[in-house]
């Protein structure tokens, strides 16, 4: 006869079983396996049909190799640049849209839906749309700028297109991603702003605050939890950015650029570099790379939380 406690535990685990099964199979096992993988290397004996068999244990070899790899540091450097281009701009644009669309204006619901719409599109689709906008000769932007008289002697504004220019490729991708993500941030900010009691703004009016004071001293501090959330999710999105690079550079990592003695890809973000390692068959190195990125993401999130510590 089972005791009552054992019976209750049994029932509880029964209810938890569906989740635990999915968790163990699709999360716990891959994480543990990738740790194992990061400590091993493919060898000449490794079969491409069973690539994870007959790998050789190399300890921290991959981690050391990554940390001494120029391409790794370049990808991290680019990721940081990408982060600085997308996160503050995205937050500012979202906040501005939220403030604008929180007012009593005509077609408010239409604008809210329109700005949010890109979020329901797949990144690959968005990438293709922006390729069409940025493409050389007949791209929408090229044609528009040419008609506005920005073309050079031969009438061409961007010789190889914006995405073909190593200095403009990453900012162009960043612009596309900021515009894509602004609608989501806008919804979060609208919700947060609507939670601020109107009487707080009225008290500020009486206290002598103008619109800038109200934004600076009331709205921004009170939406700080949303800013923190957007900084953390934005950081993670930058560190794992892959699809947008894959789509908009047509799986090249962007045009090459000469940095000191090295020829490097101008849009080779960390997430894309990880994918590239994996696709080239460097499974162990790619796994180690993912853990390095995890460490960086945790570190940055910790710093963000300290800096943007909310009192709410």
């Amino acid at each position: 006869m089972l005791s009552k406690r054992v019976k209750e535990n049994f029932i509880s685990y029964g209810f938890l079983a569906p989740f635990l099964t999915v968790f163990l199979v699709f999360l716990a096992y891959p994480v543990i396996y990738s740790i194992w993988l990061s400590l091993h290397k493919t060898t000449i004996y490794t079969s491409w049909y069973t690539p994870f068999d007959s790998m050789k244990y190399i300890g921290m070899g991959h981690y050391i190799s990554i940390l001494t790899d120029v391409e790794f540091w370049w990808s991290i450097c680019l990721t940081f640049c990408y982060g600085f281009m997308t996160i503050p701009t995205g937050i500012m644009l979202s906040l501005l849209l939220a403030i604008f669309l929180n007012n009593q204006i005509k077609f408010k619901s239409f604008f809210r839906s329109a700005y949010f719409l890109p979020n329901v599109l797949d990144l690959l689709v968005i990438g293709i749309i922006w390729i069409l906008i940025f493409s050389p000769q007949y791209g929408l932007l090229e044609v528009a700028l040419r008609n506005l008289g920005f073309g050079g002697e031969n009438g061409i504004v961007f010789k190889n297109g914006i995405l073909g220019n190593p200095y403009l490729c990453l900012p162009a991708i960043a612009l596309a991603m900021v515009l894509k993500g602004a609608g989501f941030g806008m919804i979060l900010f609208i919700t947060a702003i609507q939670n601020i009691p109107q009487s707080v703004y009225e008290a500020a009016d009486i206290d002598g605050a103008n619109w800038w004071h109200k934004l600076r001293y009331i709205t921004i501090p009170l939406v700080k939890p949303i800013i923190l959330f957007m900084v953390i999710t934005g950081t993670i999105a930058c560190l794992t950015a892959f699809t947008e690079i894959y789509a908009m550079t047509t799986n090249t990592g962007g045009p090459t650029i000469q940095v000191f003695d090295h020829t490097l890809k101008s849009a080779n973000l960390a997430g894309y570099h990880l994918y590239w390692n994996f696709s080239e068959g460097y499974y162990g190195k790619a796994a180690a790379f993912s853990f390095v990125l995890l460490g960086i993401a945790l570190l940055i999130s910790l710093i963000n939380m300290k800096l943007l510590k909310s009192d709410k």
Partner: protein, 367 residues
């Protein structure tokens, strides 16, 4: 310090709803004026018009002799305490109190001095570093007052400031507000729907209904000589008992004849009703002017069954049905415990000279 004057002020919303109509009022310098009335009567709108948070649709609003219809709230030199306190949740008590001074570019040392001074008056000195969420309701209320006081404005506006507090704290804060008014000697405009607050705090009370002023007067004037049946019913707790009656004569005396009662009047009341003989009127009598007794002992009384007795300790409320056509149960008040019991037929003795007579529709006081 300054007075506030409303000259034929109207407030009409975009959907043509008229919430304030033909509003004429002069609030004197250093006066504690209470706007009182039921929900939706326009009292908060009136206060918000003084604050500049609502536009004046028509008429003139003057503060300290200056027309302020088009002056922004920040330039009116007023301070307001909101019903929900409206404290800045992310700022400490000190920052909340200092915010307006900071925006006005007051010197940092001066701000510090002012905040300390006010926090001492309000007993907030030990709470200066706390955030609003770490404070009790009463403390938040004090911070809201501190934020208003620190600026030394011309007029203080209070919008139902005690309605979020429990009954005990409300009494305590009421006393503190009264003390504060004495200490600061400023003009205060105070909105409440609680007539007890109005009676205890005000120098003068303005009773409002449906956007119109019903009566302006001192608490005692309003209590003793209500201008109409609404004011009579609104001021005083428990509220005035009212019933329809007809002015008639019996044996040469002026009487009030109800469906199943008859009371005769004498003196000034009878004289005032001479010209209203044969008219339908509304009779009102306050609960403390009805004395339930086992027998009438020759006084003016009606015999009614005691339905419920509510003993409150120092006083008791005795409920009974005055008449089948009375719109609610009547209540009498007596000190201590009553001499009658529930279910007993008692003589309800009226202080007939304390009866209030209004016109049939209740719009006018007759006697």
């Amino acid at each position: 310090m300054a007075g506030v004057i409303f000259k034929n002020v109207y407030k009409i919303y975009e959907n043509k709803t008229m919430v304030i109509q033909n509003f004429d009022l002069e609030i004197r310098d250093k006066e504690f004026l209470v706007l009182v009335g039921p929900s939706g009567c326009g009292k908060s709108t009136t206060l918000r018009m003084i604050a500049g948070l609502e536009e004046v649709s028509r008429g003139d609003l003057m503060i300290d002799g200056l027309r302020v219809n088009d002056v922004a709230p920040k330039d009116r030199d007023i301070a307001m305490v909101f019903q929900n306190y409206a404290l800045y949740p992310h700022m400490s008590v000190k920052e909340n109190m200092a915010f307006s001074l900071k925006l006005r570019g007051v010197d940092r040392n001066e701000i510090e001095k002012k905040v300390l001074e006010v926090s001492e008056i309000l007993g907030l000195k030990d709470l200066l570093e706390r955030k609003p969420k770490q404070l009790s309701g009463g403390q938040r209320q004090r911070v809201a007052m501190g934020r208003a006081i620190v600026r030394s404005p011309k007029v203080f506006l209070f919008d139902e400031p005690l309605s979020n507090l429990d009954a005990k704290l409300r009494v305590q804060m009421r006393v503190e507000i009264a003390k504060l008014h004495k200490l600061l000697g400023t003009t205060i405009v105070y909105v409440t729907h609680d007539q007890v607050e109005a009676m205890t705090l005000a120098d003068r009370i303005v009773v409002m209904k449906d956007g119109f002023i019903q009566q302006i007067g001192t608490p005692l004037e309003l209590y003793e000589k209500p201008a109409n049946a609404f004011v009579g019913g609104f001021i005083g707790s428990p509220s005035m008992n009212q019933i329809a009656a007809k002015v008639g004569t019996e044996k040469g005396q002026i009487v009030l004849q109800g469906q199943d009662f008859l009371v005769s009047l004498s003196g000034e009341k009878a004289k005032a009703l001479e010209s209203h003989k044969g008219e339908d009127v509304l009779m009102g009598i306050r609960p403390q002017n009805i004395h339930p007794q086992p027998d009438a002992q020759g006084k003016v009384a009606v015999l009614r069954e005691v339905e419920v007795i509510e003993p409150m300790g120092t006083e008791s409320y005795i409920y009974f049905t005055m008449s089948k056509d009375a719109d609610r149960t009547w209540v009498a008040r007596c000190d201590g415990m009553p001499q009658v019991q529930e279910g007993q037929k008692a003589a309800m003795v009226f202080d007939i000279d304390k009866v209030h007579i209004f016109s049939k529709d209740g719009s006018k006081r007759l006697a």
